[in-house]
Symmetry: C2
């Protein structure tokens, strides 16, 4: 992990030695007093923490960033995939910085996927946090569940770049270039289920202003389509222009 998420209180008061994060630092990474690590408060600021004490608690002196990292204006609608795909989707979209992940029950889906322990326990939240920690970000996408595509679409902001991936009825290839005209300030990306959209979903997408686009004549897995589509949306939005890494290198920090 490139960043350790904690609460404001933990940042001030430190962590008990039995905490999994303490054990990771002291036992796995074998770091000690004076070592530096990236930390962040969930949906708050990040900082460079220096370990001050390792007994009786792990405590830090933290130099905080001046302002909270900006959220990226990308909502992703995903037809609820099988749990092993959903795990990758949650992690990878969190690491790319999507703002919302809206899971809907697709027409050609399996309702049993919703009963997985991924969703009935807190496992989904851990995956989102791991994705953010990997990205060295403290921003966690909101994850919501919707009865169907129409409900998920209704929960999204209107306007902006609206793209649905569809290898079969696309009007053309997805592009990472900015669309013609004024640059949109946000994007909604819709990814269908493994078995594809049905006719009613395609009609709803077109009605809702989504353009159906493809990634060539190869069929991507749901999790691969999410990463490829999100990267192309973020590039088209120019979302990466404000590039401000927390620090280039901890050793130099």
């Amino acid at each position: 992990m490139n960043l350790m998420l904690m609460t404001e209180r933990e940042a001030k008061e430190g962590l008990p030695l039995a905490d999994a994060r303490s054990r990771h630092l002291l036992k796995t990474l074998r770091v000690g007093i004076g070592a530096k690590v990236h930390v962040g408060v969930r949906n708050g600021r990040r900082g460079i923490a220096v370990i001050l004490t390792t007994e009786p608690r792990l405590t830090f002196g933290i130099r905080w960033e001046e302002s909270i990292q900006p959220m990226l204006p990308l909502d992703v609608l995903v037809g609820l995939p099988r749990p092993q795909s959903a795990r990758k989707v949650l992690h990878d979209l969190a690491s790319l910085g999507a703002r919302k992940i809206r899971l809907f029950r697709p027409a050609k889906g399996d309702p049993a996927y919703a009963t997985s322990s991924l969703w009935t326990t807190e496992e989904w939240r851990e995956l989102v946090e791991k994705g953010a920690e990997q990205a060295c970000s403290a921003l966690l996408p909101e994850v919501s569940h919707h009865a169907d595509l129409a409900e998920a679409m209704g929960a999204c902001p209107s306007g902006g770049l609206r793209i649905a991936l569809d290898p079969y009825e696309a009007s053309g290839p997805m592009s990472g270039a900015a669309p013609k005209g004024p640059r949109p300030s946000a994007a909604v990306l819709a990814i269908g289920p493994e078995r594809g959209w049905d006719a009613a979903e395609r009609a709803a997408l077109r009605e809702g202003g989504f353009e159906l686009m493809h990634l060539g004549d190869r069929i991507a897995r749901v999790e691969t389509a999410c990463v490829a589509g999100a990267a192309l949306c973020l590039a088209a939005l120019g979302a990466w222009r404000a590039h401000r890494p927390i620090v280039p290198d901890l050793d130099a920090g």
Copy 2:
């Protein structure tokens, strides 16, 4: 799997019932005489196969596509990652249609990764084949191993779009737009190891005409960077414009 790879001879003579592909069709998918399935000869044509017999062998009547699917002009150089990342890289780059995957020993890498059973057995090849089968493609990227980045760069075609991802010393954000001037006909994408490029590697990349670019201020895992970077390169090349799915839907085929 969306396509079943086989040899020319298997396509003509069929498969023994004990073959894993026969068992998958007959036992897992429970299909029978008359069922249709996509098949392909490794690096050759694909076709729609109809099951003709299930006893004493599984045999097919195959309608072949008229010409071989085009290879996509993308070479990816990847600093040899830990085996669990490498598995995803092989699968996903094969499914996106990369032409070559060149693995090199990075300066900040772990030489032990090369001794994994992934590389000492045929497991790497199975992952590449699974990626192509997922994509409904019969084209398999060539996978090669190189002593270092310089050797891997030397094996690539010169010119074209040349991008290395680097969150720390990038000159700007990676774009999915076509570069100014005549559109390049091929791309080389270089992805560093988990711990990043060293100074000598960065110098070699710049010397070799690579532009260092970033995906914003979030740190992606190697496998996520490969998918995002490959998608942006393919979009910039316009590689998806010739979109010709083998068939839109098997039931309608």
